[in-house]
Symmetry: C2
Subunit: 167 residues, 2 copies
DNA sequence: TTAAACTTTCAATAATTATTGAAAGTTTAA
DNA sequence: TTAAACTTTCAATAATTATTGAAAGTTTAA
């Protein structure tokens, strides 16, 4: 496997993984490209490498900036805008997890709380609805706060020290 | 909020959450419906409640069975097939996490390993590709095994005992 | 200012994914 | 066996989501 093959393989795999962290393919691929680039890239370079249109590139880069994953960089003597991505995987994971929680998990938790605290009219089906949504609510709250605790740890959890806690 | 409103709200929220655990809307809604039902349901009842076609119901129920989340139940004296879902949230979470890992995370980890162990040709860009994919590989491995450890704990992690470890 | 060099917007369209429903298939009771 | 009562399959279609590219907008250098 030479450089080009490996690069394409990484970018396309990362792109299809987009769904796993809740973003579209182009957005994930742009991030992947910047992640392995040795220098900041322009819109033009991104378009050419990924074979996507100018508009598509512009919109997705902006979204990545919005997520806090990509930053505009100024290159001396150049008029064009250059983009770079967060290169530290831990920081990247932290940002993704936080955004995912904020955008998708929190709203669901809110609904679960609303439904599970509805007035009990005494019927079996209402009791079941309350019971089950309450259980989901607790699970979601616990999982979400666990996620936050894990990613907010400044110590390097990649070193597997955290893992030992579960052995 | 009465029973019907609460039920609809729960089903539609859970349905739109489908993307978060990697399944489609109908599949998530069928699971939600069964999850709050006080008795096993038939294809007919699912179709009518969710207003989806017979074919759609059949295919998605089968997929849920495939995931190990829904089971066929026989009701004495009835010819029709009845369906029930796993009612314990912890067990449900365990199944979903395991399937998600197997279907999506493992394949990505495999690619990351392949790319990160490519031959180093000495160029800066190859070195960067190897370095970054190696970091992602380690992160993905750690996160995946942490997930497995957490969900495999038989003790009730919902009680927040696990959470204390991170405080 | 102006005009060249850029970026952004957004309606049109393409691509993808989900859904339908009728036909085919299967199971069960008699 | 047969036929009624079911479930499954799958080509056609609908719905959703992503992408394009030209026009509009913005910035910068002179």
């Amino acid at each position: 496997m030479n450089y080009e093959e490996a690069k394409d393989k990484f970018i396309s795999t990362w792109g299809s993984l987009g769904s796993l962290w809740g973003i579209n393919k182009a957005m994930a691929q742009i991030q992947a490209l910047l992640f392995i680039s040795t220098k900041p890239l322009t819109t033009e370079e991104i378009m050419d490498t990924l074979k996507i249109s100018r508009g598509n590139t512009s919109m997705n880069v902006r979204q990545l900036i919005d997520w806090g994953i990509v930053t505009k960089t100024l290159v001396a003597g150049e008029r064009k805008e250059f983009y770079t991505t967060e290169k530290d995987v831990q920081e990247l994971a932290r940002i993704i997890a936080k955004e995912r929680s904020r955008r998708e998990i929190r709203p669901v938790i809110k609904t679960l709380r609303e439904v599970s605290t509805m007035e009990d009219d005494g019927t079996a089906k209402t009791k079941e609805l309350i019971k089950q949504t309450k259980a989901l609510h607790e699970l979601a709250e616990t999982a979400d706060s666990m996620l936050h605790k894990i990613i907010n740890q400044k110590q390097n959890w990649l070193t597997k020290s955290v893992l030992k806690l579960f052995s």
